[in-house]
Subunit: 358 residues, 2 copies
Amino acid sequence: MGRVFNFGAGPAALPLPVLEKAHKEFLDFQSSGMSIMEMSHRSKTYQAVIDSAEAGIRRIMCVPDNYSVLFLQGGASTQFAQIPLNLLGKGQVGDYVNTGSWAEKAIREGKVVGDVNVIWDGAETNYMTMPKAAEITESENSAYVHITSNETIGGVQFKEFPKTKAPLIADMSSDVMSRRIAIEDFGMIYAGAQKNIGPSGLALVVMRTDLAERCPETVNHIFRYSTQIKDGSMYNTPNTWAIYIVSKVCEWVEELGGLDALEKINEEKAAILYDALDSSDFWTPCAQKESRSLMNVTWRLPSEELEKKFIAEATAAGLAGLKGHRSVGGIRASIYNACPTAGVEALVKFMKKFEEQA
Amino acid sequence: MGRVFNFGAGPAALPLPVLEKAHKEFLDFQSSGMSIMEMSHRSKTYQAVIDSAEAGIRRIMCVPDNYSVLFLQGGASTQFAQIPLNLLGKGQVGDYVNTGSWAEKAIREGKVVGDVNVIWDGAETNYMTMPKAAEITESENSAYVHITSNETIGGVQFKEFPKTKAPLIADMSSDVMSRRIAIEDFGMIYAGAQKNIGPSGLALVVMRTDLAERCPETVNHIFRYSTQIKDGSMYNTPNTWAIYIVSKVCEWVEELGGLDALEKINEEKAAILYDALDSSDFWTPCAQKESRSLMNVTWRLPSEELEKKFIAEATAAGLAGLKGHRSVGGIRASIYNACPTAGVEALVKFMKKFEEQA
């Protein structure tokens, strides 16, 4: 089979040029006589790889010098625990914005560690909307305000971030490096790599370095941000393969023209798909219009039977991963960075044909 | 450059047939039109991969049915914390056998969580010996007895495991699946994958399933073994790539003839190298004879200057990764499963020549 257009929510499509480069040097990395997977993380050759990944992230996302860039294991789900363990002090409260499934998981882990205050909840709209910045009021003794910048399952995305006194922390797993954000407005952002920047098994953490000092000594060394900051993400053996792929993805983004160019492409892709959805009553987009995600586009068909047929026929036509999350059903097209415009165009073309024949 | 013989301690050499198979299907996994890295962990195709990895581990290592096989993130270093968090109850003590650097790291994390008793310490011999089974006496209120079956830095290895009343827990990062052990004698074994079974970013955990029930509710969900047992290592997105490589390594081991065949090869490889070291006073093996590791062989030369020369000339001759750990110096040859006999023979040939010319 030829290469399909992959709309899966994650692990998701990687840029084809990245895969091709990795394929080419797979058996012999930079004439070392071994694969990158077989190389010591303490070697000069590997240090250059992780340095290149960090430098790429810093350049592309304009990370200020007083922020640390960490490559950790355990995905965003481990961050749900590490954040309160490191940053939720006694007498403080962790403020959480509940925008859907992923925010709920973060809240669940916060509650194990300390006091949690859900300062906004999207339950009324079944999590099909995001709060406006002004709707978010932090607690007086807030340790941090936690938000989920994009909810992968619902397909909703923050458009305007709140300004908070306590550090603003954002789970950006599904929209990291897809649009320009001002890092200095956040205490920390983090993301599982497997949607926009690499393979699974890696979490990117960008945090204001001074925040790491808050961690109490009751927390295991391996879970303290300060431990990994001190050792440049190599306190223990990191996921060397995934970091290598991230370095290649960063090269690809910079060759495209950086984040401004990528953001423009992402906006265009989303516009093509939402325009198609809005052009006919056959499709019912799920997210409220002003909260629509540029990364995960969710919609329904007139019946579940038609949805099943749509997914099956799309898959057969080389349009993969369109099934909505098992918790909500429907259709979901994840159009992350690596999804080409041609993929969205092919999907829209297929949709028009499907509607005509339905 | 052609493929070198890689004696690095980890991330370490992978079997060449595994790399070649992964290379072949890198851009299109099983005619899916995508790479294995781009595939949903919830897909049927991927479920077959993780099932195959687990079944391979179970067959090769004869894992009893009342044990769970988990593929976790964070390496062995995260296990150092997860073990006491899950298993060290109030009023109990965690017994630790201190055999060197890695045991010390496990002890350090244990102390953050609760009461720790170091029931044996190899300091007297500078950690160049392992205890005999009879030297290990557990505490009365022992939650578990933790050992490190092989110390990668010193190059010492347990030959005979103690029988304990409390669950015996072994960090087998550097000798997992290299020799036959009776899993039923252990409460749990675990290993970072990057030495004998796969790439970095993955820890294999094999544990008696009932032990997972001990975890208190004060521990974050993501760190509870019960969470991952319930969800088949997929509570959150696992390191899909590393698990895929593990499945291929298991296939390779079974094609070789399984663990009995592999153990024989490993014994032969180690004998070739230790015989060379014992045949001349030019070399000084570090580990005490009865504790010598079959995986990490450590020795000294008459001077540090000669050691530097040895490493440089060996590297130039295609024998990579022979530098001892930075904390102890000297020479270390890690001859894990994927290191072929031909590699050890080439090393010994080089050593003879080096000695003649020194």
